[in-house]
């Protein structure tokens, strides 16, 4: 069975500049141990890690692309496809579930469609982000493991804002506040 062609994507001008700037910010020639900080810096600037940017980063760091890809797909906070809306992380781990996270997740599903799954889980981060209705929702949301704020359970992070003792309405308000038109 032939597989879909999946050629190396050339970096856009903006992506190249982001990579070059992040490396310049180190002040020294990049070493392999700069990889994760550089991936953070790229994602902070671009919102995600486009494949072209990763190719350019691998070239600039003199690292094999498969190694960079292997690292990028390992971490749940690194995104390998563009967010299609305001990013919402909802803790559904044990302490939050005991304080209503299961109901909360249910309510959010009704509003925003099913949550996305960690790309590294679904292999091929290349394949994620193709979800149907969810990818058109204005909120790009996922359930996440314990966020370490259990004293305020249930908790969520909406558009970068940490929310404690949260409800679906509270999340919607925070998303409006952070620019999402949810």
């Amino acid at each position: 069975m032939p597989i879909e062609p999946n050629p190396p994507a050339p970096a856009t001008e903006r992506e190249r500049e982001a990579v070059d700037r992040a490396i310049a910010g180190l002040g020294v020639e990049p070493r392999r141990s700069d990889l994760l900080p550089l991936l953070h810096a790229l994602q902070d600037e671009l919102g995600w890690l486009p494949r072209g940017a990763l190719h350019h980063l691998a070239d600039r760091m003199n690292l094999p692309f498969p190694d960079v890809w292997g690292v990028a797909t390992f971490y749940a906070l690194l995104r390998l496809d563009p967010p299609h809306g305001t990013i919402l992380h909802v803790c559904d781990d044990v302490p939050c579930r005991l304080r209503g996270a299961d109901t909360l997740v249910h309510d959010l599903e009704a509003r925003y469609g099913p949550p996305r799954r960690f790309a590294g889980e679904a292999h091929g981060a290349v394949r994620s982000g193709e979800g149907g209705a969810a990818s058109r929702a204005p909120v790009d949301w996922e359930t996440v493991p314990c966020l370490g704020r259990c004293e305020e359970a249930p908790v969520a992070v909406a558009g970068g804002r940490e929310l404690g003792r949260v409800t679906a309405d509270g999340i919607a308000a925070a998303l409006r506040h952070s620019g999402g038109d949810a």
Binding site: F65, P66, G120
Partner: protein
């Protein structure tokens, strides 16, 4: 320097720097292995070779742990047998083992029953990657032993076309963003194919013949020769079926190759036949 160890109550001499597995094998004993390869750095990930070492809370991988003076090792306790059996069952329940006789034999030796996890147990679900003229990748058969990654990288080829991507049960061997081999760094030396223990990586000719029901090791013989291409002098084993070369390997214990070849030695034999049975 020789050091004394004890295995299953029996005093053994081992050389300093040896692994437990090497000491076992020299004494005529053994442990099942899957990710171990004599010419690759032990990654100790399959955990089939675990043994009990006195003073160690968890079991210890014999393929990588070096012997120490006075080490007391047990290879046949209930704990060891249970761990090995379950590890082998777990593996066999998760992948297609149809071209992995080694794994199947280990499972049988430990009376394993991979089916007991249920017919609905999730398996590695990957399409066959048949994207070039030399070899196919069938990751539904992959046990993630890392041998191909090592052979492609620092242990032999220094090409670094392969790495592990993803995480957990979804971790896979990858070319990076799943690029087809022709668009990856691959140089088609086939050294990954040579070390694959499950047939997940397979020469295209063998794959085609198996599909057609023509692959028959009982009708094959091996002719040893030296590679004709350059002056290095790599030892070749020509696997011949019905007077045609169907596969080329090199002995893992050969001084020159250590089992590794280049694209010409491994795949460049079809010129021998006027009408090669390729695609």
């Amino acid at each position: 320097m020789s050091i004394g160890i004890e295995v299953d109550g029996r005093a053994l001499e081992a050389d300093e720097g040896m692994t437990i597995l090497q000491a076992l094998r020299r004494a005529g004993m053994d442990a099942p292995t899957l990710c171990y390869h004599p010419n690759l750095t032990p990654v100790n990930v399959c955990r089939a070779c675990v043994v009990e070492v006195e003073g160690s809370r968890a079991l210890v991988p014999s393929c990588s742990r070096r012997v120490e003076p006075g080490m007391r090792i047990r290879t046949d306790t209930g704990r060891v047998r249970r761990a090995r059996k379950v590890v082998l069952e777990l593996l066999a329940s998760s992948v297609d083992t149809s071209t992995a006789p080694e794994l199947a034999a280990h499972v049988a030796a430990y009376q394993g029953d991979p089916a007991r996890f249920g017919s609905d147990a999730v398996r590695v679900d990957e399409p066959l990657r048949d994207d070039n003229d030399l070899y196919v990748r069938d990751y539904a058969k992959c046990i993630l032993c890392y041998k191909c990654v090592e052979a492609c990288g620092e242990d032999a080829q220094y090409t670094f076309a392969l790495a592990v991507a993803g995480r957990g049960f979804a971790a896979r061997i990858e070319t990076g963003a799943d690029a087809p081999l022709l668009e990856s760094r691959c140089v088609f030396c086939g050294n990954c194919v040579a070390v694959c223990p499950t047939g997940a990586l397979m020469p295209l000719i063998e794959h085609r013949m198996r599909q057609a029901g023509e692959w028959d090791p009982s009708r094959q013989h091996v002719a040893e020769t030296i590679c004709p291409y350059c002056g290095v002098g790599c030892a070749l084993e020509l696997h011949v079926q019905d007077n045609r070369i169907v596969k080329v390997t090199s002995p893992a214990d050969h001084d020159v190759t250590r089992g590794h070849l280049c694209v010409k030695g491994r795949f460049g034999f079809t010129y021998v036949h006027p009408d090669p049975p390729s695609r």
